[in-house]
Symmetry: C2
DNA sequence: CGTTCTATTGAGGGAAGTCAACAGTGGTGG
DNA sequence: CCACCACTGTTGACTTCCCTCAATAGAACG
């Protein structure tokens, strides 16, 4: 069952992947107040240029952050899985330059900026954790740029599958070789800068080579080694290894 | 003449575009210690996977941050002009997943992470300014993803020129219609995911249409309106407009 | 005054896009 | 409960944008 508490639990888990937080800080994050909201698939949660005063924490489902060109064709710039905060940077600049849409039916928690600011102001360690979270996302954006700029269709898809596999695994939602990723071929095209037709053809060859296949929402990797090779994938960029010690001095309960 | 002081002055100027800092905080940033270093063009300052314990502040010149695919072809993910900190996120994770190279001869200041951490720990407002700086960069990465994924060659180049024009103008280094941007056609290809041959052909048509031209290192925009139109450019993504009030409580001189 | 980048142009090829038709699949309402 | 409809996936034919290879000219630099 989905509750505010379980969503915040996932979020804390995510923060702890990249930050050290003490008991008071974790409790402060877990004490955030927000409003649950259920959204069906393929709905725009935030439109480009919106002025928002809350962030969207994904409790379950999948969100895509996107930009679009003049003719309205979308380019996904990030996927947000359960436990991720879709637009944490909006607490620094409330005018979004991006849009956010649901890929599948999604449960999300809307947390007012004021809540986040209150916690971040009282606990510099939490503010730092938010910063680290944003920085980790930022690395992924750079990697996507490389993916779109310098890899062919098969490599782009393979890279994406590797990335999502690692992310779902790290988030405790499946393992890298079998995970639920409810993106259609259109969605995959939006994320890789390809058309859905070409995604279809490319998936077919990957399937026929016995590398990876997709049944409905489930991705099954039959040969991780080869997939990573095709996708030119090095998990180092995901900032999973080492981290610098925290900067913020610990604060007692505020 | 280039000095540590003038470089830090540019950096403070940059931070103030997106953050509010009080006198003590500005003084703390201006008091950072670092080592000046002159690097000639086309030199790798940081290699992918390096473990660094300092950041590079650009005093003068131009740096490119890049990733590469397996075969070593580079994809530039960001340009860093004077006043920018090339790898500020490395103070959170010292292992870089990217490389940094000089595009032109560049003077940079190497500032130890320890210095930055000291200031950020004493002044949460400065830490927040660093966070905002990273977040603004992050927006640009997303925009580059859109650029590479959903725009053709002419639009990619036009978009890049618009972006750089605005950035140089905001940094007080020229105006959007005439600025020094010492990237070769190869560099432009690395940034736009094109080959230098195709960059050459595309620049030719842009020149012939009277939109923009390039003489050596100088870009001259003859028709901003049309350039922005071709490049599908909306400066809103550069987070220049509004910003949320600061989160960190002001700290007295530490 | 050569050497090495950088810019330019041509010819030909290939990866991905466009257009179009059709087959599954799932949801919904009569 | 079935029929319909919208969405998703699949495939073919043709086109186009960009890449590759190659040759040459111009600029910069020691």
């Amino acid at each position: 069952v989905l509750s505010l508490g379980s969503a915040l639990h996932l979020f804390v888990r995510r923060l702890l992947l990249r930050s050290s937080l003490n008991y008071d800080e974790v409790e402060a994050v877990r004490g955030l107040k927000g409003e649950m909201r259920e959204v069906s698939a393929r709905v725009d949660v935030i439109r480009q240029g919106d002025h928002v005063n809350h962030v969207c924490l994904v409790a379950d489902g999948l969100l895509a952050r996107f930009g679009q060109n003049r003719s309205g064709v979308r380019q996904t710039t990030a996927f947000h899985i359960a436990g991720a905060m879709a637009d944490l940077p909006s607490m620094l600049n409330p005018r979004t330059s991006w849009g956010v849409a649901t890929v599948a039916a999604t449960t999300l928690v809307q947390i007012p900026h004021a809540e986040l600011r209150r916690v971040a102001a009282s606990f510099p360690g939490v503010a730092e954790a938010f910063w680290r979270d944003c920085a980790a996302d930022s690395l992924m954006y750079s990697e996507w740029t490389v993916n779109l700029g310098r890899r062919d269709a098969a490599a782009r898809l393979a890279h994406l599958f590797c990335e999502m596999g690692i992310r779902y695994e790290r988030a405790g939602q499946g393992d890298r070789c079998s995970f639920v990723f409810p993106a259609t071929q259109v969605d995959l095209g939006d994320a890789t800068g390809l058309t859905s037709v070409h995604v279809n053809r490319t998936l077919k060859t990957l399937r026929e080579r016995g590398v990876v296949s997709k049944q409905r929402a489930r991705i099954t990797v039959h040969d991780w080694e080869q997939l990573a090779n095709i996708g030119d994938f090095d998990s180092a960029f995901m900032a999973l290894d080492e981290q610098s010690p925290r900067i913020a001095v610990a604060t007692v309960k505020g």
